[in-house]
C-alpha cells in the first residue's frame, strides 16, 4: 500500500468527477430531489383532509348538525349532493370514491330514541363507494369511528374501554425522519455500486487498467483509492442531504459517530459488491444494467422508502437477508431512536457482509492480464 499513489489516484478520480457535470448532478441532486418530493408529500399527509360527498335526504336541523359533526370530528371537507340525484349514478359520474347518504326520517328517529327512549328507533347511514379506490377504506374507517362516537353520546354512558398512547420516544417522529436515513443508505449504496462497476468496467474496456498494471500502482492501491473516492463522495452527498432536510423540513435527527461508521460500512459493502460484479461484466454498456439489477431490488425490499412491516411476511423475511436493510436499521437506530445496542447489532451484520464481499472483491479484481 502506497499512500502517495492512493492520493494521486484519488485526485485524478475526483477531478474527473468534478468535470463530469451530469454525473455530479445525478449523484448529489437525485437523492435531494427524492427527499424534497417525498418529504413534501408526506408532510402534507400529516395534516391531511379528506373530501366527502354527503347526500342529506332528511334536510332537517338534526341531519344538518350530523353533517357538521362529520366535518369537525372526521377532518372531512364536505360536498353536499342534491337529494334528487341518484346516489350510485353520482358516484360513477362524478369520480368521487364515496358518497354518504343520510336517510329520510333521520331527525324523527333521533327524537324517538333520545326523547322517548325508544331503543327500536334507528337509522342506517349508507356508504355508496367505489371499492377500486385505494383511499376509500381509510375514509370508511374514519367515518365508522365518528359514527361510533355519535352513538356513544346518544347512549349517554361513558365508555368502559379507553385507550392511552405512551411513546417510547421523547417525541413522535415524522415520516421524513424515517425517510432521510433510508435515502442516505440508498444513495451511498448507489454511488458506491455504480461508481465501482461503471468506472472499472469502462477503464478496463478502454485499456487504462492494462496501462496502469505496467506502473508501480498495485491492485490494493487501486482498490483503496476507489474506497476513499467513494467515501469522499458519500460524505459530501450525506452532508448535502442532511442540510436540505434540516433547512426544509426541520428534521430532528441525532447525529453521532454511528453516521460516518454506517456510511463507511455502506461504501465498503457496495464497492466490494461492485468489484465482484465487475469481474462478470465485460462491456461498459452492460455495467449499468447489472448494477441496476442489484440496486433496485435492494432499494425497494430493504425498507429504504417505507417500513418493511408494510410488506407481506415472505418479503419481510427476504428483507432481513439483504445488506441494505441493516444499513437502514443501523442508521435509524442511531439517528431516530438513539439505540446504540440496535446500531451495534446492525453494524455487526453489515460489517461482516462488507468484510466478506470486500475480500471476495479484491480476489475477483483482475489487474494483470490473464490473472
Amino acid at each position: 500500500m502506497n499512500p502517495r499513489i492512493i492520493f494521486a489516484n484519488l485526485i485524478v478520480k475526483l477531478t474527473g468527477f468534478y468535470r463530469e457535470k451530469t454525473t455530479m448532478f445525478f449523484t448529489f441532486a437525485f437523492p435531494i430531489i427524492l427527499i424534497l418530493v417525498f418529504g413534501t408529500i408526506f408532510m402534507s399527509q400529516d395534516s391531511m383532509e379528506y373530501r366527502l360527498s354527503v347526500q342529506d335526504l332528511d334536510q332537517t336541523q338534526a341531519s344538518i348538525d350530523a353533517v357538521k359533526t362529520l366535518e369537525t370530528k372526521g377532518k372531512f371537507k364536505i360536498t353536499t349532493v342534491d337529494p334528487a340525484i341518484d346516489a350510485r349514478q353520482y358516484v360513477m359520474d362524478s369520480k368521487v370514491n364515496l358518497l354518504l347518504v343520510i336517510p329520510k326520517g333521520f331527525e324523527k328517529y333521533l327524537i324517538q330514541r333520545t326523547t322517548f327512549n325508544d331503543n327500536n328507533a334507528s337509522v342506517t347511514i349508507t356508504y355508496v363507494y367505489d371499492p377500486s379506490s385505494s383511499s376509500v377504506m381509510t375514509k370508511i374507517q374514519i367515518l365508522n369511528a365518528v359514527l361510533a362516537g355519535i352513538n356513544q353520546r346518544i347512549a349517554g354512558k361513558p365508555p368502559f374501554l379507553r385507550s392511552a398512547e405512551r411513546s417510547i420516544l421523547t417525541r413522535k417522529y415524522r415520516f421524513i425522519e424515517f425517510f432521510v436515513p433510508g435515502i442516505i443508505a440508498m444513495s451511498v449504496m448507489t454511488l458506491s455500486l455504480f461508481g465501482t462497476v461503471d468506472s472499472d468496467t469502462e477503464l478496463r474496456q478502454k485499456g487504462v487498467i492494462r496501462k496502469l498494471s505496467t506502473t508501480p500502482i498495485t491492485r490494493t492501491d487501486w482498490i483503496l483509492s476507489n474506497i476513499l473516492y467513494n467515501f469522499t463522495l458519500a460524505v459530501i452527498s450525506t452532508i448535502a442531504m442532511l442540510l436540505v432536510s434540516y433547512a426544509v423540513f426541520d428534521v430532528s435527527l441525532h447525529i453521532d459517530a454511528w453516521l460516518p461508521a454506517f456510511v463507511l460500512l455502506d461504501v465498503f459493502a457496495f464497492v466490494g459488491t461492485g468489484m465482484i460484479l465487475t469481474r462478470f461484466v465485460k462491456e461498459a454498456q452492460s455495467a449499468a444494467a447489472a448494477a441496476n439489477a442489484i440496486s433496485y431490488p435492494l432499494m425497494f425490499l430493504s425498507g429504504s422508502f417505507f417500513p418493511i412491516e408494510l410488506m407481506p411476511g415472505l418479503l419481510q423475511k427476504i428483507a432481513r437477508t439483504l445488506p441494505l436493510f441493516y444499513v437502514n436499521e443501523g442508521l435509524r437506530a442511531s439517528m431516530i431512536f438513539q439505540d446504540n445496542l440496535a446500531a451495534l447489532k446492525a453494524s455487526a451484520v453489515i460489517g461482516v457482509y462488507a468484510a466478506v464481499v470486500f475480500v471476495l472483491g479484491i480476489m475477483a479484481t483482475k489487474w494483470e492480464e490473464g490473472t
Binding site: I11, G16, K211, T215, E368
Partner: protein, 315 residues
C-alpha cells in the same frame, strides 16, 4: 561485461498457450541495450502476447524471460520502475488534461519529471491544457508515448503505436520515435507496418503464427530472403506482357494492369527493355527497386502483412 549489461531483454524458449491455442511457440531472441527492436507480424501472430509477457503483465506457459537481467516472473516491482509502456489501444482518463495526466503518472512512479520537456518532445505544447477525450487519435498516441517516458525508462515498449492512425498522424508519431532512437533508448516496437520497422528498427524479428521465422537488420533480411530487383512496367498494350512472358521471366499483372517482374541483375532489366524496343511496343512508366520487408514477409510466409490494394495477382 555482464550479461545484464549486454542485453536489455533475453527471451529463451518462450511458449504461451491459451487452451489448445499456441499463441507463442518456443521463441528465443535477445535485444541489445540501446537498439530499436521491431517485432513485425500480422494481427494474431503473437506480438502483443510476447510483449505483454516481457512487460510482466501476462503469465506464460514455459520458457524464461529476463528484462535488464531480472526474471519477469519474480521482479515485477523492480522492472516496472525501469520500463515505459505504450500498450496496444492506449487510452487514459477522459476528463484529465495532457499536463495533469503526465503529472499523475509521474506521481505513480514517484519521480521528478520534466513535464514541459516531455510535452515538448511529443510536440503537444499547444494541447497541454486539453482534456484527453478532446484529443485526436494521433495526439492521444503521442501522449501515450510521453507517459511511457515519465520515469525516464531504460527500455520502452511500444505496442502498435501507429495502428489506426491516418498517414499524417503516423508520420508525426514516427518523428517522436526517431527522437527516442537518437536519445539512445532501448525500444521494443511491435508493428504490422513494414515501413515503420524499416525506418526505425536496428533489428527486426518477423513473427508468424507464434514463431519467429526470420531475424536480423532490415538490410540483412532483405539481402538474405529477397535478393532480387522488382521491375514494374506500365505497358501501352498487351504485347509487352507477352514479350516478357516469352523471355521466361514469369511476369504478373496487378489490379492496375501494371506488369511486375522479378529479376536477379540490372542487365536483366536492360534485356527486357531492349526486347520491348525491338518489337516496336512501348511503355508509359518504369520502376526498378530493391524489395522491402513486405516482400520478405510474403516470401517467408506466403501471406501478406496487411491488405494492400493493388498487390500482385497470379499470372
Amino acid at each position: 561485461m555482464t550479461k545484464e549489461a549486454e542485453y536489455a531483454i533475453e527471451v529463451d524458449r518462450l511458449t504461451k498457450r491459451y487452451g489448445d491455442l499456441q499463441a507463442v511457440n518456443d521463441i528465443s531472441f535477445n535485444v541489445s541495450k540501446g537498439e530499436v527492436f521491431a517485432f513485425l507480424g500480422p494481427n494474431g501472430a503473437g506480438k502483443t502476447t510476447t510483449v505483454e509477457i516481457i512487460e510482466t503483465i501476462r503469465p506464460f506457459t514455459s520458457g524464461r524471460v529476463t528484462l535488464l537481467g531480472m526474471d519477469v516472473t519474480k521482479k515485477k516491482r523492480d522492472i516496472v520502475q525501469r520500463i515505459g509502456v505504450l500498450p496496444q489501444g492506449f487510452s487514459s482518463f477522459d476528463r484529465i488534461t495532457v499536463r495533469e495526466t503526465l503529472q499523475y503518472y509521474s506521481r505513480l512512479f514517484n519521480v521528478k519529471t520534466d513535464i514541459d520537456g516531455l510535452i515538448e518532445l511529443v510536440n503537444l505544447r499547444d494541447k497541454a491544457k486539453e482534456q484527453y477525450k478532446n484529443l485526436s487519435g494521433g495526439l492521444k498516441q503521442r501522449l501515450g508515448i510521453a507517459i511511457a517516458l515519465v520515469n525516464d525508462p531504460e527500455v520502452v515498449f511500444l505496442d502498435e503505436p501507429t495502428t489506426g492512425l491516418d498517414p499524417r498522424a503516423r508520420h508525426e508519431v514516427w518523428e517522436v520515435l526517431l527522437g527516442l532512437k537518437k536519445k539512445g533508448k532501448t525500444v521494443f516496437l511491435t508493428t504490422h507496418y513494414m515501413e515503420e520497422a524499416e525506418l526505425l528498427a536496428d533489428t527486426v524479428a518477423i513473427i508468424s503464427k507464434g514463431k519467429i521465422i526470420a531475424m536480423g537488420s532490415p538490410v540483412e533480411l532483405i539481402e538474405r530472403n529477397a535478393n532480387y530487383l522488382a521491375l514494374t512496367l506500365r505497358p501501352v498494350d498487351d504485347k509487352v506482357f507477352e514479350i516478357v512472358r516469352q523471355m521466361g521471366l514469369g511476369p504478373v499483372l496487378d489490379t492496375h494492369k501494371n506488369i511486375r517482374v522479378r529479376v536477379e541483375h540490372t542487365y536483366d532489366v536492360q534485356k527486357i527493355l531492349n526486347a520491348i524496343k525491338e518489337s516496336g511496343a512501348g511503355y508509359l512508366g518504369l520502376d526498378v527497386r530493391k524489395p522491402n520487408l513486405e516482400e520478405v514477409f510474403l516470401k517467408l510466409t506466403g501471406e501478406a502483412l496487411r491488405e494492400v490494394p493493388g498487390e500482385m495477382e497470379t499470372e
